[in-house]
C-alpha cells in the first residue's frame, strides 16, 4: 500500500510539472518588446512565473524542469531557433534558482522579495557574460558576421543587461502580489505533496 502511494505521488508531481510547463508555454506566447531598447528580439513574458510556482512548491530543480519543458515544446512546435531558445532556458534557470533557494531557506515575503532581487541581478549579470562569450559569438558564427568587441559590448550594455534587469523587475511586480494571494495555497500544496 505504502509503495503504491509514493508511486502515485511521483506521478502526480510529474503531471503537475507538465501542466505548469503548458501554462508557461502559453504565457511565453503572450510577450511584448520593450519599446525603448535597441534590441527588438528581446521580449518580456511571464513564462517564468509557473516555473517559480513549481520551484516554491517542490524544489529549484522542479522549476528548472518546467522551464525545460516550455523550451523543448517551443522548439517542437517550431516556435523559434535553437540558440535563442537555449538562451531563454539559461535566463530562466539563472532567475529561478536563486529565488527558490532564498525562499526555501527563510520562507516569508521578505525572502521572496530579496530572492527576486538576487535572481534579477544573477540573471542580468549571468546573461551578459554568457552573451558576450557564448551566445553572440554563436549567432555570429551561424550568420557569418564578424562579431567585433565593440558590437558585443554595445549589445550587452544597451540590450542584454538593461533588458534582463527590467524583465526581473516586471516579473517581480507580478509575482509578489501573486505570492501574497497564493501563499497559503502554496503552503498547503507543499504540505500535501512533498
Amino acid at each position: 500500500m505504502q509503495s503504491s502511494k509514493t508511486q502515485s505521488f511521483s506521478l502526480l508531481k510529474l503531471i503537475i510539472l507538465a501542466l505548469l510547463g503548458t501554462i508557461s508555454l502559453v504565457l511565453f506566447f503572450i510577450n511584448f518588446p520593450l519599446p525603448f531598447l535597441p534590441t527588438p528580439y528581446l521580449k518580456i513574458d511571464f513564462s517564468e512565473v509557473p516555473a517559480l510556482m513549481a520551484a516554491f512548491i517542490f524544489s529549484p530543480l522542479a522549476g528548472v524542469i518546467v522551464v525545460a519543458i516550455k523550451n523543448i515544446l517551443y522548439l517542437a512546435i517550431g516556435g523559434g531557433e535553437i540558440i535563442g531558445v537555449l538562451a531563454n532556458f539559461l535566463t530562466g534557470v539563472l532567475f529561478i534558482v536563486p529565488v527558490a533557494l532564498m525562499y526555501h531557506k527563510f520562507k516569508g515575503v521578505k525572502s521572496v522579495i530579496s530572492g527576486l532581487v538576487t535572481g534579477t541581478i544573477v540573471m542580468a549579470l549571468g546573461m551578459s557574460v554568457l552573451n558576450y562569450f557564448l551566445i553572440l559569438p554563436a549567432y555570429g558564427w551561424f550568420m557569418g558576421w564578424e562579431m567585433t568587441e565593440q558590437f558585443k559590448w554595445f549589445s550587452v550594455y544597451a540590450g542584454i543587461l538593461p533588458f534582463n534587469l527590467i524583465k526581473g523587475i516586471v516579473v517581480g511586480l507580478l509575482f509578489v502580489p501573486l505570492f501574497l494571494k497564493m501563499r497559503q495555497w502554496i503552503e498547503e500544496k507543499r504540505a500535501s505533496l512533498v
Binding site: S4, Q7, S8, L11, L12, L14, I15, I16, L17, A18, L19, L20, G21, T22, I23, L25, V26, F29, I44, F46, V49, P50, M53, I65, I69, I72, L73, A76, I77, G78, G79, E81, F142, M143, G144, W145, E146, V170, V171, L173, L174, P177, L178, K181, M182, W185, K189
Partner: protein, 266 residues
Amino acid sequence: MNNALIIGQYVPGNSLVHKLDPRTKITLIFFFVFIVFLANNVLSYSILTLFALVSMVISRVPIRFIMKGLTPIWFLIVFTFILHIIVTKEGSVWLEIYSFQIYSGGVFQGIAISLRFFLLILVTSLLTLTTTPIEITDAIEDMLHPLKKVKFPVHELALMMSISLRFIPTLMQETDKISKAQASRGVDFRTGSIKDRAKAVVPLLIPLFVSAFKRAEELAMAMEARGYNGGEGRTKLRELKINARDIAVYLLFIAVIAGLLLTRGY
C-alpha cells in the same frame, strides 16, 4: 487568441517528407547544420540549394506556410547581405557611389552567406512543418534512450512532454475563458503601464494554477486506475519504425555530403 499555436507550425500532409521517421529527420537536420559550412564555391552551394529545394518541393508544403515561418528571418538575411557588401573589400570594384565602392568579393560573400543562412532556416523549419510535435517528442524519447544507463529519467521526461502537449489547447482555451471573464469584470489587460499590466495578470493566473492542479489530480488518479506504473514494460500506441525510404534518404544524404566534399574548393 493565437489560433496557430494549437497545432504549431505543422501542416498535415502525406508526402515522403511527412512519412519519414521523425528520428531520420532530426538526425539529417543535425548533420545539415554542419555540412552547410562545407560549401564554399558555386558548385557546392548549388548542391546544397538543390538538396534543400528538392526536399521543400517533395514535402508539398504550400509556399506561403514556408514563407510565414521565414518572416522573422528576412530582416536578418537582408542585413547580413548588406553588411557583407559594405565590409568586404575584395575583388574588383563593381559600383562606385561617390566615395563608396562595392566590390565583387563583397557581393559574392554576401550572397553566399545569406544563402547559407536561408538554407539553414528552410531545412530546419521543414522539420516542424512536416512533423507533429507528438512525433518529435516520441523521437526525442527514443534518441535519448541511451541516457537511461546514467539514470536520466527519459521516460518521465517524455511522459511530461506528451501530457504538456496534450493540454496546450485545453489550457489556452481556459486562459481565454478566464481573461474574458475577468475583462467583463473590468480588468484591463491591454492598456496601462507595464506595472499595471503585470498586476492585471494576477487574477488570470490564480484560477489557472488552481484548476491546473485539479486537472493534474484527476489525470493522475485516472492513470493509476488504468494501471499506469512507470515506463517499465509499457507498450506504445505509436511505434517508430525505420523503413526502406528512411535508408534511401540516408544514402541520398551521404551522397550529398560526398558531393560537397568533392566539389568544394580547398
